[in-house]
Point group: C2
Chain length 214, copies 2
Amino acid sequence: MAKKKIAARKAPRNGDKNAPPADGIRKAAFDLFARQGFPITTVRDIMHACGLTQGALYNHFSSKDELLASIIIQTQDELERELRQALAGIGADATGQLREYVRVHTLRHTRFRTEALVANREFGWLEPIKRSEVRASRRRVRDILIGILRRGEKEGAFALPAGEGRTDAKIVAMAILNMTTHVAQWFTSGGAFSDETVAALHAEMALRLAGAKR
Amino acid sequence: MAKKKIAARKAPRNGDKNAPPADGIRKAAFDLFARQGFPITTVRDIMHACGLTQGALYNHFSSKDELLASIIIQTQDELERELRQALAGIGADATGQLREYVRVHTLRHTRFRTEALVANREFGWLEPIKRSEVRASRRRVRDILIGILRRGEKEGAFALPAGEGRTDAKIVAMAILNMTTHVAQWFTSGGAFSDETVAALHAEMALRLAGAKR
């Protein structure tokens, strides 16, 4: 995001012509929202960037607002679906589930950095109904993690940190979600560690936070 | 932040008349930037909210941009100064220093939630020179933490998590900073725990992340 507008990049002519136009529009919008922010990005900028006419937007989205909602909701839905799938594929062991949850959550934020940054920063521009929809999915994602932490504690696999003599799985869950979500702010591929290693390191850190007995 | 502008609140007539006007302007700006975002907040909104004439802004700030820079830099400076003071006041023990660093960092983000949210979300609107200035302070704040982690590891007080056979104090530092910074997003006073307890819980979690031997 910069104060002055950056000239929009036109999609390369040899881009994937078979991709549905709505996907191309979403991708261009993500890129522009990331670089210059939602408020000053115009429909014109977006359509120019993906090589379509300005009017073509309205074949797919009713407005720029709806486009923002569409991409944030899609990103959030994919995160939720991916987490559920990953957890369904492994056993009931809380330690294994926590490791897998954090691995997948971290990888989503290293592999879809732009999407994560836009979804978090521009979230406030969503219309109230859409905002509630995203919040509900975020809550479900968080509650899966809280569920794993509580079950692990009950089964004696975890010893959660205590404050004022009692534990709070929600605070531990928020700490884990914040450290993995904001990996998107510093991770660069080609850095000291691969994304898989960064994800494994975060899984290890989450197990430490939860006081996993190993 | 909402899509539509919210009517600015006028400062109460019995407000602190002895406070320097620049402080009142900063406070009103913070409040408005928090509720509706920097891009759509006008100088008129800000000056109306603090009960001053529009022109009075220019006795203190050259522009709305400079006002944003002033409040973000002031917040960041205070955080850095507070951390340095707190650390200077305790011993050289790495475990004690980590605990104190995280306690102070968390409290800054529970007690100055609005400032933290605005500083993080609107950071991208800063002019490049101001942005570099804030980044440099953020880097110094992070480097103090990295220093504590490295020293603790060297002295055998910490066992940092390893990825690909080596440890990385920077990744642990980012995890700690992200979990404490983003407390600002969920903390409400009057919730299940006091801010002091939330800070102590985060200090405990940071010690776990670092693998502090106790």
